[in-house]
């Protein structure tokens, strides 16, 4: 799961429904947005546009 202790923000982020998933499901949901580029440094997890650094602390991701 997400590292819930990193910051309060990440605690709230991790509690969001779309992210309250097993790690395996998270890693499968990392998608790109075609056509209009998000650029480097972003991942999309169940629609949430996250910075890659947000995912630090996800074990096995």
């Amino acid at each position: 799961m997400l590292n819930l202790k990193r910051r309060n923000f990440l605690v709230r982020l991790a509690a969001l429904p779309a992210l309250a998933l097993p790690v395996v499901a998270v890693s499968k949901k990392v998608e790109a947005v075609p056509d209009v580029s998000l650029g480097k440094g972003f991942v999309i997890v169940n629609g949430w546009v996250l910075k890659c650094s947000d995912l630090e602390g996800i074990e096995n991701a």
């Binding site: 429904p17 056509d35 209009v36 998000l38 972003f42 546009v49 996250l50 910075k51």
Partner: protein, 526 residues
């Protein structure tokens, strides 16, 4: 000289009359024009419906739709004295300077007039609409520092103002209740209700308008003559009237180049997603009155628009991106407690929500655990395939009903997607928070939600524009810079049908500005 009912008269009221001005349509544009011109001219004001809503009258607005699915067309217009002002939301904003300018990547961009041509009418339009708008407050560079209010690169802040008519308890101005008594009391205005214009009579050489043919519901037909004629029935009906006036000109009046009814534009209203604040931004947003409350009649929330430079760089149309507190949606849900509880169950975990969305084939909007949501009002590119045409079915007075084929261009889609993705990037990069984008935004070529879609989007603004667009050339428009129909010496169009492009602003304020300018033009001509 009073408001008369054409269904209740025994003799032809127009037999010995020759008005300076004949106006078809008693909505915001028609009433404004009548009030202005009546100061020095004789005015005939014709309203197709009665003094208030009836189902029978409203049924004349029934129509078919094709293309991008639109809502029923009799839901967004009102056919009675005062017109659609009886149901508008009261949101006002000026068009921006660059809305009038040509853009190399946008087809049919540019107006034959500029913002400076309309600016002299801001004060008077604001009084008519009971709204507080200052010329220099329509948009301004972001001056904030810190994570909230948003300080996003390439975007500026703007405000939308609300019409507050004190006699209606602060509700948006309705032209029926506000101006009926004045119209009744004005000697130089003859106003008739239940008086639809069913045809437009031209001179033999077809270059001049001689009369409106007016019907009543008892089968009567009357000929109303005048010096100048104005059709002011809203962008959909304006084009239907011109297309149906085909007894002397095949294809209708002003339609030599098959342009009447084309270029229909709306303001797509799309829910782009939800957001959560980072901690510091959450604290600041909680103390931000503009975000949480209606201040000085400005719509609550923070509203951002791309700068002119940003639009040119990204080659996109205009849009206004509203950031709103989640409490707005939560309070709506509170009114449907059972539905809200089901929603909470579905939203409890991502897995259930994901499954529910798959089963539904659309979005399940969840606001319980987020801080706000993002919605945009976007401009559309003028598109000749987005159009109104006549269909075989006729209304009870024998005029053909219409079909609206609403269409998007690739530039429309790119603009909406670009707005969403940029917002998500900027939230993250500025330390403001994170955004969840709607599922449909993930597709390669996005399928913008329409009236059939199961999303949180409102889809439309009910803003109908550009169907008799103003242009420098007969090749690309129906009316000239003075709103006069090309090829006709004395027939004018009023209302948002003459917009050359849609811009981003709600259209009513611009409609009134343009109508006041038209009144000035006609006063000089008469």
């Amino acid at each position: 000289m009073s408001i008369k009912d054409l269904d209740q008269i025994d003799t032809d009221p127009f037999v010995d009359q020759h008005y300076d001005v004949c106006i078809c349509g008693a909505g915001p544009a028609g009433i404004t024009l009548a009030r202005k011109l009546a100061k020095s001219h004789s005015v005939l004001l014709l309203e197709a419906g009665g003094m208030s809503f009836t189902r029978e009258s409203q049924d004349f607005y029934k129509a078919t739709t094709s293309g991008v699915k639109y809502f029923p067309l009799d839901h967004y217009r009102m056919r009675h004295f005062g017109g659609t002002s009886a149901m508008w939301g009261g949101v006002c904003r000026l068009l921006d300077k660059e809305d009038f300018e040509k853009k190399p990547y946008m087809k049919y961009s540019g107006w034959p007039i500029s913002k400076a041509d309309l600016d002299p009418y801001i004060k008077e339009a604001a009084e008519i609409l009971d709204v507080n708008i200052e010329p220099d407050s329509i948009r301004y560079p972001i001056k904030h520092t810190g994570p909230w209010p948003p300080n996003f690169s390439g975007l500026e802040e703007t405000e939308f103002r609300l019409s507050h008519y004190s006699s209606l308890g602060g509700a948006p101005t309705q032209f029926g209740p506000k101006y009926a008594d004045e119209v009744r009391a004005t000697e130089s205005i003859d106003c008739f209700i239940n008086a639809p214009v069913v045809d437009v009579r031209l001179s033999e050489r077809l270059g001049d308008t001689e009369a409106f043919i007016v019907a009543n519901n008892s089968g009567g037909r009357f000929t109303a003559r005048g010096r100048v004629f104005i059709i002011a029935c809203g962008a959909i009906e304006n084009s239907r009237i011109l297309l149906n006036a085909n007894t002397q000109q095949k294809g209708g009046i002003g339609n030599d180049n098959d342009l009447v009814g084309r270029f229909f534009c709306e303001h797509p209203h799309q829910h782009l997603g939800e957001f959560v604040f980072e901690d510091e931004a959450k604290k600041a947003a909680g103390e931000d009155k503009s975000f949480n409350e209606e201040i000085n009649s400005a719509v609550k929330g923070r509203h951002l628009m791309p700068t002119k430079k940003e639009k040119l760089n990204r080659k996109i149309l205009g849009y206004s991106m509203g950031l709103y507190p989640a409490a707005v949606k939560q309070s709506t849900d509170d009114n449907q407690s059972f539905k809200a509880r089901i929603r909470s169950l579905v939203c409890a975990t991502g897995f259930i929500r994901d499954s529910a969305e798959t089963l539904k084939g659309g979005t399940v909007a969840c606001y319980d655990n987020v801080d706000g949501y993002i919605a945009i009002q976007a401009e559309q590119e003028p598109n000749p395939e987005s159009r109104i045409t006549l269909i075989d079915e006729k209304d009870p007075l024998g005029n053909q009903r219409l079909n609206l084929n609403w269409a998007f261009t690739d530039l429309d889609r790119k603009t909406i997607k670009s707005a969403a993705v940029t917002a998500a990037q900027q939230f993250a990069n500025s330390g403001t928070g994170r955004v969840r984008l709607e599922r449909w935004l993930m597709d390669d070529k996005i399928d913008v939600p329409d009236a059939d879609s199961k999303t949180a989007s409102n889809v439309v603004g009910g803003h109908h524009m550009c169907t008799t667009r103003m242009s420098e050339s007969t090749e690309t428009g129906v009316v000239d810079a003075n709103q006069k129909v090309f090829g006709n010496s004395n027939l004018y169009m009023a209302g948002s049908s003459v917009f050359s492009t849609a811009g981003v602003s709600n259209p009513t304020f611009t409609i009134i500005q343009m109508t006041l300018r038209l009144a000035d033009h006609l006063s000089k001509r008469l």
